[in-house]
């Protein structure tokens, strides 16, 4: 029954907006801290949401990053309209990237994004249609690890 208490927040993400790119994940981190999630959980959610956000900035036209929190879990959902991923299995591999030279020169596109998201989440689901967009859904469980400080 506890699961009925839910917090939802949505952040609009604009493709190629490097000035504001990263702000949404910062706000997610701040919110999770205020909600008394332990530092390790917040850190994982911060890294995963940052990668999800930057993937949209780098590869999509625009998209939405949503945070849903229940007392037991953190769910982050990225839904974008953009180029999509032709081969998800390949894209999940460490070091694989379709990033252009310009993106790499900015320090992105090392091919660690998706694997980093997976590493920092407990569940990850990804679907994509080439030419339409990509949806990434992750869950970070917060069971039992709640801090009281």
């Amino acid at each position: 029954m506890k699961d009925k208490i839910v917090l939802s927040q949505g952040f609009e993400i604009q493709g190629a907006d490097f000035v504001r790119g990263g702000e949404a994940s910062c706000q997610i981190v701040e919110a999770l801290r205020d909600l008394a999630f332990p530092p390790e959980i917040v850190r994982r959610a911060g890294i995963a949401s940052y990668e999800m956000e930057m993937n949209m900035v780098l590869y999509a036209d625009h998209g939405m990053l949503s945070l849903t929190v229940t007392p037991d879990a953190i769910m982050i959902f990225a839904d974008d309209q953009g180029q999509g991923i032709p081969d998800i299995e390949l894209a999940m591999q460490n070091g694989y990237s379709t990033a252009t030279q310009e993106i790499r020169e900015m320090g992105f596109g090392a091919g660690m994004g998706l694997s980093n998201i997976k590493k920092n989440s407990d569940k990850m689901q990804i679907t994509s249609t080439v030419g339409e967009g990509t949806k990434v859904h992750i869950v970070i469980e917060a069971n039992g690890a709640r801090s009281n400080s």
Binding site: K2, A36, T70, P71
Partner: protein, 438 residues
């Protein structure tokens, strides 16, 4: 803010209520959002203050007073040692040598003046070894600036593990001085006072409120600006005086610790970064948090722009001060004096490393129970939307978002907003009052 530890936290500033007129400059300048105007005067929330001194810099009425050590506090010590920050060497121009300054300090009544720049060199030769042996993908963050340490404890709690587990050079020096003086002169350590000459408030606060449970070896601290006048006078005499023992031991590498980049230069590790300034420090720590600094082995952060030479208690313009340091570094060379020194007995190398971990001191969550916290957060969002968003600060909080946060934490009420009070806040307030009644 009521908190179990609030009473125990000591800060290095106090507000002179006879001078404060309740303007909102300090609340706006505070990067930690730790100041509120209440009852017409500024009040510091002790568990949020990071001792950076930004409020002290901006206060137009000089109502923020550093709580430094007074002369009376020092009379209880039989033997008084002064330990100046290397930033002091930058304050008198390139023709005043560190030796002149240390000798001048003796003329002010200290029994001994100790060159902390030398300790910095010594400690960082060990730090270099430590980093090379222990680096495993995340940068080590410098433990030197106490305001940065506190900023991390409060606002980046998950990064406390990355703070280099070394004691600050000033603490290491203070301990070494006490055991050395005791050995040489037979004076009990409790009768030896070690006084730091500091460029900032943060080091004052760190003495009373160290980042770990252990107690500080420093017995007091005085701002550079407080001794500057008398030092200028003493310098004239000290240059003419005959000296029986040289006090200055460091090379240019140690002197360089007075400014941003000094630690990085001393380490000589290519994959390291030096950052200074409050905003810049915030931004780089955010980058660390996102895992963006994984190729960097050492991150030097100083809260003051330009490093300690930009401290709120310094006197000299920091660009001029930096130029003086450049001259001194050139004059004394970068080759570490530590390597040729044999009198290192005073140092216990085991003491360089911290015995206990630096723990997070995160700002309390909205509630320890996540379900209740979620409810409060939703209310906070509603309040935020209802407030005018002009960030005028007249309520006493730095901005509308912070007022909303204070309201759900029970520290303020919506009527503190002058727009709400005067009925100019628009329709959403009515909706909100309904919620609050329920």
């Amino acid at each position: 803010m009521p908190g179990p530890t609030a009473k125990d936290i000591h800060h290095a500033l106090r507000i002179d209520e006879s001078r404060c007129n309740g303007c909102v400059e300090c609340t706006k300048a505070c990067p930690a959002k730790a100041i509120r105007v209440r009852g017409g005067v500024a009040r510091v929330l002790p568990e949020r203050c990071i001792d950076c001194g930004e409020c002290f810099r901006v206060c137009p009425r000089r109502a923020i007073i550093p709580v430094t050590t007074t002369y009376m506090d020092l009379t209880r010590f039989k033997y008084k040692v002064v330990l100046p920050s290397p930033a002091l060497y930058s304050q008198f121009g390139p023709n005043t040598m560190p030796e002149d300054i240390l000798q001048a300090l003796l003329l002010l009544g200290f029994d001994y003046a100790y060159d902390k720049a030398y300790t910095c060199e010594l400690v960082f030769s060990d730090v270099k070894k430590f980093i090379e042996e222990n680096y495993s993908g995340d940068p080590f963050i410098s433990p030197v600036c106490p305001a940065v340490t506190r900023l991390i404890q409060l606002m980046f709690p998950d990064l406390t593990d990355l703070i280099l587990p070394f004691r600050a050079p000033r603490e290491i020096a203070a301990k070494a001085i006490k055991s050395d003086v005791h050995k040489r002169l037979g004076i009990e350590e409790s009768e030896i006072g070690v006084i730091h000459i500091t460029p900032c408030l943060a080091k004052l606060a760190a003495m009373a409120n160290p980042p770990t449970e252990e107690k500080s070896f420093l017995d007091g601290a005085v701002g550079i600006s407080e001794v500057y006048g008398s030092l200028l006078g003493a310098l004239k005499d000290s240059k003419a005086e005959k000296r029986d023992q040289p006090l200055h031991r460091s090379s240019g590498t140690g002197i360089n610790f007075g400014r941003s980049g000094g630690e990085v230069a001393a380490l000589g590790i290519e994959a390291s970064l030096a950052v200074s300034g409050v905003k810049e420090t915030f931004n780089i720590l955010k980058a660390v948090e996102r895992g963006k600094l994984r190729d960097i082995k050492y991150l030097e952060c100083q809260i003051c722009p330009g490093g300690c030479i930009g401290g709120p208690l310094t006197v000299q313009n920091r660009y001029i001060a930096s130029n003086t340091i450049s001259s001194l570094v050139k004059l004394f060379g970068r080759k570490l004096k530590v390597e040729e020194m044999t009198d290192l007995e005073e140092y216990d190398r085991n003491y360089f490393r911290l015995a206990s971990k630096i723990r997070p001191q995160a700002i309390p969550a909205l509630d320890t129970d996540t379900s209740i916290a979620i409810g409060k957060m939703r209310l906070r969002e509603q309040i935020s939307r209802a407030l005018p968003g002009k960030n005028c600060g007249a309520c006493g909080a730095p901005d509308c978002k912070t007022l909303a946060d204070d309201i759900v934490r029970g520290l303020a009420s919506i009527e503190d907003c002058i727009f709400v009070k005067s009925g100019l806040a628009g329709g959403r307030i009515a909706e909100l009052k309904g919620i609050r009644k329920r």
